[in-house]
Amino acid sequence: MRYLFALLLTNLKASVALRGAFWMRAAFMALNNGIMLVLWMLFFLRYRDVNGWRAADTVAIYAVTASAYGLAVVLGHGVSDLARRIHEGGLDAFLTQPKDVLLQCVASRSEASGWGDLFSGVVLFGVAGHLAPATLPICLVTALSGAAIFLSWNVMFHSLAFWLGDTSTVSRQAWHFLILFSLYPSTIFGGWLKLLLFTALPAGFIGYLPVDLLHRFSWGTLLAVAGAAAGYVALAALVFRLGLRRYQSGSRFA
């Protein structure tokens, strides 16, 4: 709708308003990612593969994760403020406007470094040869669903503040957790850990399955990725709505 478009545009405008900081954040984040990739390439120089996972797979998982993360923070960095706003009553202003509260909060900020991540993602997709017309749509779908999962997971994590009070210091770490598991060779995880990565900590849907998809397309996997994204979004919306009802009943900490 027109509103959503206007909201995202305003968000991006605000991000660009501080021009110097914008470019520095974007550029240095790209550099940041570059160094990490060098680190991994050195690793693979020494160890050819890890349970079948090779250098090319790490390039792919970085491409997917960086694009998804970049998209998520460029459009929805406001989610990082969610726990704090919940605790401080900062959702009030959103409640008085005739639009969705969660949307307003999530789209209230944009992180400039996300552009650096997006850039890294695109470059890495290119390096891995996935920007070809056959695989380009997959790149887009995985980036979008990854972003949706990142944001949904964060929303749920931050929403704990509705019930637990001031979780802002802990909630801010939420990103780091998900990313951690989304960047390592997925083949090292087995058993219960693997289960975890497809449920409570959906790094499997952000990194592993998309990489699988890029190297070996299957409709089933595509459906799984898109379906998981939709599922997490729905779950996040539900959790938030339940929490909001509680917020509106006004229970607070002493």
């Binding site: 990490m36 680190l39 160890y47 001031d166 390592y184 090292i188």
Partner: protein, 248 residues
């Protein structure tokens, strides 16, 4: 000495930040689980996990002094703090050390227990030798944080610089894998930078508790430490000039 009092106060504050400490400990655990899985998949020895337990311990405990200083500069608080009879810079370093010391202690135990459980082997003997060096290295990390924070006087937003510095530390200091994984020439190059002694220099004692190695690292750390202190002092003087000119 005033700095000691400041450090003690910061330490007391850190003891109360329990939520944060918990989050950091859980993250530390997560990293160890991931890396243990990695090394297990490669059939590597338990020492690799102990290595990471050591490097991550120090890196995760590092206080984000740079953000602190950046905020002081942004808020304009800095003009008032400089007027006090303690040098702002060394007061901040003291704060960082006090804060960081508590963080080191709080997560240290977790790391040790986790590594033991994940590898099924007790801590290697080299750890004892590495501990004093770890503390020295930690001191350097705090100095680096202060230097990064001071750049706020010129660039305002220090985080991008921090990201790159941190990744260089990871790469050239060998955070996730010991530098021995790299080709020879790169290992030598890494030791020409301050980063390698700060992590790999002493964490490698987990593999090989060689006192000669320890001594060499100690010398390197002391050397870089002195250089850092001199650099910091110089940077601070330049920062004060900027403050004078711009008025905070």
């Amino acid at each position: 000495m005033k700095q000691v009092a400041i450090a003690a106060l910061a330490a007391r504050h850190a003891l109360h930040a329990r939520g944060e400490a918990l989050a950091r400990a859980v993250f530390y655990l997560a990293i160890l689980v991931v890396l243990a899985s990695l090394w297990r998949a490669l059939g590597a020895s338990a020492s690799y996990v102990w290595y990471v337990a050591l490097t991550e311990w120090v890196v995760l405990a590092m206080p984000l002094l740079s953000i602190d200083i950046e905020e002081d500069v942004r808020r304009g608080d800095i003009a008032y703090r400089i007027a006090r009879p303690v040098s702002y810079l060394w007061a901040k370093v003291a704060e960082g050390l006090g804060n960081g010391a508590v963080r080191l202690l709080m997560i240290g135990g977790c790391g040790g227990v986790a590594a033991w459980l994940l590898t099924g082997t007790p801590p290697p003997r080299g750890i004892l030798l590495s501990l004093p060096l770890a503390t020295l290295s930690f001191f350097l990390l705090v100095l680096w944080q202060a230097a990064l924070g001071l750049t706020a006087f010129w660039i305002g937003d220090t985080q991008p610089l921090f990201w790159v510095w941190q990744k260089l530390l990871f790469l050239l200091g060998g955070l996730l894998f010991p530098l021995d994984v790299y080709p020879e020439w790169l290992q030598r190059a890494a030791y020409m930078t301050p980063f390698a002694p700060m992590l790999h220099g002493w964490a490698r004692l987990a593999f090989d508790p060689d006192p000669a190695l320890a001594a060499r690292t100690a010398l390197l750390l002391l050397g870089w430490g002195v250089a850092l202190i001199a650099f910091l002092a110089w940077l601070y003087r330049r920062a004060l000039v900027v403050l004078d000119v711009n008025g905070g």
